[in-house]
C-alpha cells in the first residue's frame, strides 16, 4: 500500500519535472492554411499531427487558422507547412503541387469557385 503510493508519487513528479523542461522547447503558432470543409479539417490536422515534433494541432474551419504546438528542437513552422502542402493544402509560404491538389476530394477544392457536393 505505502509502496504503491510511493511509486505513484514518483511517476507524477517525473512527469511534472519532464513537463517543466519541455517548456523552453515548446513553440505555439497560429497561421492560415487554405481549406474549406470538415474533411479538410481532418486532413490538415492529421498531416500536422503526424509531423514529428508536433504535439497538438487544431484547424478552425471558419478562420482557416491552424493552431499548433510543437517542439522547436524537432520541427519548425516551415516543416509543418511543407507537410500540409504534401497533402494538398496551401499556406502563405508553401503551395501544394497541382498534382497533389487535383487529387483532393471535390468538396475540398478551395482554389477554384466550383462547389460540388462530395
Amino acid at each position: 500500500m505505502k509502496r504503491l503510493i510511493l511509486v505513484l508519487v514518483v511517476i507524477f513528479s517525473c512527469t511534472l519535472s519532464a513537463e517543466a523542461q519541455k517548456k523552453s522547447k515548446t513553440s505555439r503558432v497560429k497561421f492560415e492554411v487554405d481549406g474549406v470543409c470538415v474533411m479538410c479539417k481532418e486532413r490538415i490536422e492529421k498531416a500536422a499531427a503526424l509531423t514529428k515534433g508536433v504535439k497538438y494541432a487544431v484547424w478552425d474551419v471558419n478562420t482557416k487558422e491552424l493552431y499548433c504546438i510543437y517542439n522547436n528542437k524537432k520541427t519548425s513552422t516551415l516543416k509543418i507547412k511543407k507537410a500540409l502542402a504534401a497533402v494538398g493544402h496551401d499556406s502563405k509560404e508553401v503551395k501544394a503541387t497541382d498534382e497533389v491538389y487535383s487529387k483532393l476530394d471535390s468538396c475540398c477544392l478551395y482554389r477554384n469557385g466550383v462547389v460540388k457536393k462530395h
Partner: protein
C-alpha cells in the same frame, strides 16, 4: 403473429414509397453579423428537368427525388448559382454566397440514433436520445429493448423487475456508471436500473468486453455509462406523462435555468405510481407489484470556457415502495402471518456527487479531472417469512490526469482512485455487515496513427481490504484493413466481491433454503470473483442497392478463474452459494446487420448465440433461464421533419427466444414439476409517435402484442407457505399485452 406483422407492414409500406420520392433541405446564408439564416424564395431544381421548387419563408424546401436526378441547382438573384451532386436522397443544407464571395457548403447528415464507431479502439455502441424515445417507458432498465447487445429479462414473478444481461452475464458483471461514476452496484444491484428515469438520460454508451481501467476493476462483461441531460443546454421546461392500461402512471417534469453567467441548474422530478391490482393469470398473485416512487434530482453546472473549467454537482433523493404477493394481502394484518403471502420492498436512497474538469489553456492536450460521489442506499424488505435489510453507504473518488507523450498520437491517462463501502446487511436476522475499502492507481496509454490502427492499453493496481492487492490489465486494439471496416480485439481482467444476497434477491421469493458452503473466504465466507474476458469483433460498412448498411460480427468469451456459483439445481428446496470448482465460462456470438432500407426507414437484424456453462455440484450445466439462441428485428421509420419539427415516428421490435433450461424440479410432487426446458417464444413491441411540433408530441404503443405469457410463473402459487413455492423461475412475460400512451412537452 403473422397477421400482426402483415398489418404493420401495410401501415409502413405507403410511407416507404413516399420516403423514396422526396428529399428536403435548406438554402442558407450568413448574414453580415455572422449569423446563419434561411434564404426564402431561392429556386431549387434538378438539372435538365422541370422538377423544381422555391424555398419557403424560412429557407426550407422539399423536392421530388428520383435516383436518376443527380445535379441539384440552387439559384437566387445576387447570389452565385451552385450545382450540387446528389447520389442519394438526404437532407441538404446549402450555404448561398453573394456574387464574388468564396464558397463553401455545409452538409448535415442526420445524427444516428444508435451509432457504432469505426474509429474507437473499444467496441462501443452509443444510444442517443432518439433511440431512447423508442422505448417509451420509462427507466434505464427498459431503455435497451431496441438494442440487441443487451438482453432484457424479467428477474422474478413477484417484483416484475427487469434484469439486463450482456454477453450472457447478468448486470453485476457489468460496470454500470452514471457520468462515469459507478452507480448500480452493491445494494442497488437488483433495482438500481429502475431508479434512473429514461427522460433524464441524454445518451448511453455500451462497451462490450473489458473496457477502460479508469473507472475501476469491477467490470467483467462490459461497461454501461449513462450521460444525463446537462443543465447548460437542456430545455427550459420538459414534461412527460405516461399511462398504461395496466395502471402504471409516470410523470416527469424537468426545469433548467441559467442562473448566472457561468452557472446553470436543472431540477428533475419523477414520480410513478401503480395502484391497479392485476391478476390476469388467476393465480391469486399480483402479476405486477403495487408501486410508488418519488425521485428528485438537482443538478448544477459551472462552465468557464475561457479558463477551461467545467464542473457538475448533483444531489438526488429517491423513495421507492413496492408491495406484491397475493391479492388480498394487507401488510398491516398479514405481515409474517400465514393468512396470505405478501412482500414489501421499501427503498430510500440519497446521492451526492461532484465533478471538476480543467483543461490547461496553454497546453490544451493536458487536463485534470476529479470526481467524488457519496451514496446511501437503504432497503427494508420481506418476502413471506424471509426478511432482508441492507444499508449501503458508499464513497467513490477518482482523480485523472490526461496528457500526451510527445504528440497527440500518444496519449495517456493516469490517476488515483479511492473507494469505501459500508454494508449493514441482515438476512432473517443473521448479520452480514462488512466494510470494504480500496486505494488504486491506474495508467492508460492510447495510441492512434490517425488512420487504420489504434490501441488502448491500461493497467491498474489496487489495494483492497478484502480482495487483496491485485493488478488489472486491459488491452484493446483496432485495425482497419480496408475502407469502412474495423477489426477489434480485446482482453482484460476483472475482479469483484459478489453481493450474493443483494444480487439474488429474487430467490427470497421462494421456499428455498439459502446456504453458503464455504467459510474461509473474506466475503460471506466466499472468495472474490475473478474473470478474464476476450473479445474479437468485425465491423464492416457497405452499400447495398445504393443504401447504407453495416454488419457487425462479435465473438466474446468470458472465463472465470473464480466465481461465486449460485446453484438452484441441487434440489428445488435449496439455493447454494459456493466457490467455483472447475470451469465456468460464457461464450457469445452476435451477428448484427443494420440497413437503411429507404430514407428514414431503418432495419436492424441480430442473431445471438450463448454458450454459458458452469460446473455445478451436479456437473456441467447451461446457465438456467438463458436461451441459447435469440433473434432480434427492429424496424423504425420516421417521416421527414417539417419546418416546425412535425413528423410521425414508427417503431417495431420483434424478439424470438429459443428454449431455456429450467432449474431442476424433478424431486417435487408431480404437479409442481417443470419440464427440463421451456418452450421457445416470440415477443413484439410497437410504438407510434405523432410529433406536432418541436414542443409537443404524443405517443401510443404496445408491448408484448401477441400476448405471450408464461403459464405458471409462480410454482405452487396455491400453497405459498409449502415447500415447493418458487417465484424465481421466470422465462417469459407474466403480463399479457400491454398498451400505453404518453405525451412530451417542452419549451
Amino acid at each position: 403473429m403473422k397477421i400482426t406483422f402483415i398489418k404493420i407492414l401495410l401501415i409502413i409500406l405507403p410511407f416507404m414509397l413516399q420516403a423514396q420520392t422526396e428529399m428536403k433541405g435548406m438554402a442558407m446564408i450568413k448574414t453580415k453579423d455572422g449569423k446563419v439564416s434561411g434564404l426564402p424564395g431561392a429556386t431549387v431544381y434538378w438539372l435538365g428537368t422541370e422538377v423544381g421548387t422555391t424555398t419557403n419563408d424560412k429557407g426550407w424546401f422539399t423536392i421530388k427525388y428520383k435516383p436518376e436526378y443527380k445535379k441539384l441547382i440552387f439559384s437566387y438573384v445576387g447570389y452565385r448559382t451552385d450545382t450540387i451532386t446528389v447520389n442519394e436522397p438526404r437532407e441538404i443544407h446549402h450555404f448561398m454566397k453573394e456574387e464574388g464571395e468564396l464558397e463553401e457548403i455545409i452538409l448535415e447528415s442526420k445524427k444516428k440514433n444508435t451509432a457504432v464507431s469505426y474509429l474507437q479502439s473499444t467496441n462501443i455502441v452509443t444510444i442517443n436520445e432518439g433511440e431512447l424515445l423508442k422505448a417509451a417507458c420509462c427507466n434505464l432498465s427498459e431503455s435497451f429493448e431496441t438494442n440487441p447487445s443487451i438482453d432484457v429479462n424479467f428477474s422474478d414473478a413477484l417484483t416484475g423487475t427487469k434484469q439486463i444481461k450482456l454477453l450472457g452475464l447478468t448486470s453485476p458483471y457489468i460496470l454500470i456508471a452514471q457520468e462515469n461514476i459507478p452507480s448500480v452496484r452493491g445494494a442497488s444491484q437488483a433495482y438500481g436500473l429502475t431508479f434512473t428515469p429514461g427522460t433524464w438520460i441524454q445518451s448511453i454508451q455500451i462497451t462490450k468486453g473489458a473496457g477502460s481501467v479508469v473507472n475501476g476493476y469491477e467490470s467483467i462483461a462490459g461497461q454501461i455509462n449513462t450521460e444525463l441531460k446537462k443543465p447548460y443546454n437542456d430545455d427550459k421546461f420538459f414534461l412527460n406523462a405516461y399511462s398504461s392500461l395496466n395502471g402504471r402512471l409516470e410523470l416527469n417534469t424537468q426545469f433548467s435555468q441559467k442562473v448566472a453567467d457561468k452557472w446553470s441548474t436543472s431540477l428533475f422530478v419523477h414520480g410513478n405510481l401503480r395502484i391497479a391490482e392485476i391478476d390476469k393469470n388467476n393465480d391469486n398473485f399480483l402479476d405486477i407489484p403495487l408501486a410508488k416512487q418519488i425521485n428528485v434530482m438537482n443538478r448544477w453546472q459551472f462552465t468557464d470556457a475561457k479558463k477551461g473549467l467545467v464542473s457538475f454537482m448533483n444531489i438526488r433523493y429517491l423513495k421507492d415502495d413496492k408491495q406484491t404477493g397475493e391479492l388480498d394481502f394487507d401488510p398491516d394484518f398479514d405481515r409474517f402471518m400465514t393468512n396470505s403471502y405478501g412482500s414489501e420492498i421499501n427503498t430510500e436512497r440519497f446521492d451526492a456527487s461532484a465533478k471538476v474538469g480543467y483543461v490547461f489553456p496553454e497546453t490544451p492536450y493536458k487536463s485534470v479531472g476529479f470526481q467524488a460521489a457519496y451514496s446511501m442506499h437503504d432497503q427494508d424488505s420481506y418476502f413471506g417469512f424471509n426478511e432482508y435489510a441492507i444499508n449501503h453507504k458508499s464513497v467513490y473518488s477518482n482523480a485523472i490526469f490526461n496528457s500526451i507523450l510527445g504528440s497527440t498520437l500518444h496519449k495517456y491517462k493516469t490517476g488515483l482512485s479511492f473507494t469505501y463501502d459500508n454494508y449493514e446487511e441482515s438476512v432473517n436476522s443473521t448479520d452480514f455487515s462488512r466494510n470494504e475499502n480500496s486505494v488504486g492507481g491506474f495508467f492508460e496509454y492510447s495510441y492512434d496513427n490517425l488512420d487504420n490502427f489504434s490501441l488502448i492499453a491500461g493497467l491498474r493496481l489496487d489495494a483492497h481490504n478484502l480482495l487483496g492487492t491485485f493488478v488489472t490489465p486491459r488491452l484493446h486494439i483496432r485495425y482497419a484493413p480496408w475502407e469502412k471496416s474495423a477489426l477489434r480485439a480485446s482482453i482484460g481482467r476483472g475482479k469483484r466481491s459478489a453481493n450474493i444476497f443483494a444480487e439474488n434477491q429474487r430467490l427470497f421469493g421462494s421456499s428455498r433454503q439459502l446456504s453458503i458452503l464455504n467459510a474461509d473466504g473474506k466475503i460471506y465466507g466466499l472468495n472474490p470473483e475473478i474473470a478474464w474476458n476476450y473479445g474479437f469483433s468485425l465491423l464492416q460498412g457497405f452499400n447495398l442497392f445504393g443504401k447504407k448498411a453495416d454488419l457487425t460480427l462479435d465473438f466474446y468469451s468470458t472465463s472465470f478463474e473464480n466465481q461465486v456459483v449460485v446453484d438452484v439445481d441441487q434440489n428445488p428446496q435449496q439455493v447454494l452459494f459456493y466457490n467455483l470448482e472447475g470451469k465456468s465460462y460464457s461464450n457469445n456470438f452476435q451477428a448484427q446487420l443494420n440497413y437503411e432500407l429507404a430514407e428514414n426507414l431503418e432495419v436492424r437484424f441480430a442473431y445471438k448465440y450463448y454458450d454459458v456453462k458452469t460446473d455445478y455440484l451436479k456437473g456441467k450445466l447451461q446457465k438456467p433461464l438463458l436461451p441459447e439462441h435469440r433473434f432480434f428485428v427492429n424496424v423504425s421509420y420516421e417521416t421527414t421533419k417539417k419546418n416546425n419539427g412535425a413528423q410521425w415516428r414508427f417503431d417495431y421490435t420483434f424478439n424470438w427466444l429459443g428454449e431455456q433450461r429450467l432449474p431442476f424440479t424433478g424431486s417435487n410432487a408431480v404437479q409442481y414439476q417443470l419440464p427440463e426446458y421451456s418452450e421457445s417464444y416470440s415477443l413484439m413491441n410497437a410504438q407510434v409517435a405523432k410529433v406536432f411540433s418541436d414542443k409537443f408530441e404524443i405517443y401510443v404503443g404496445g408491448e408484448n402484442l401477441t400476448g405471450y405469457t408464461q403459464e405458471n410463473p409462480i410454482l405452487a402459487a396455491d400453497n405459498p407457505f409449502g415447500p415447493n413455492f418458487d417465484s424465481s423461475i421466470v422465462y417469459a412475460p407474466i403480463l399479457g399485452n400491454m398498451y400505453y400512451a404518453g405525451l412530451r412537452f417542452k419549451i
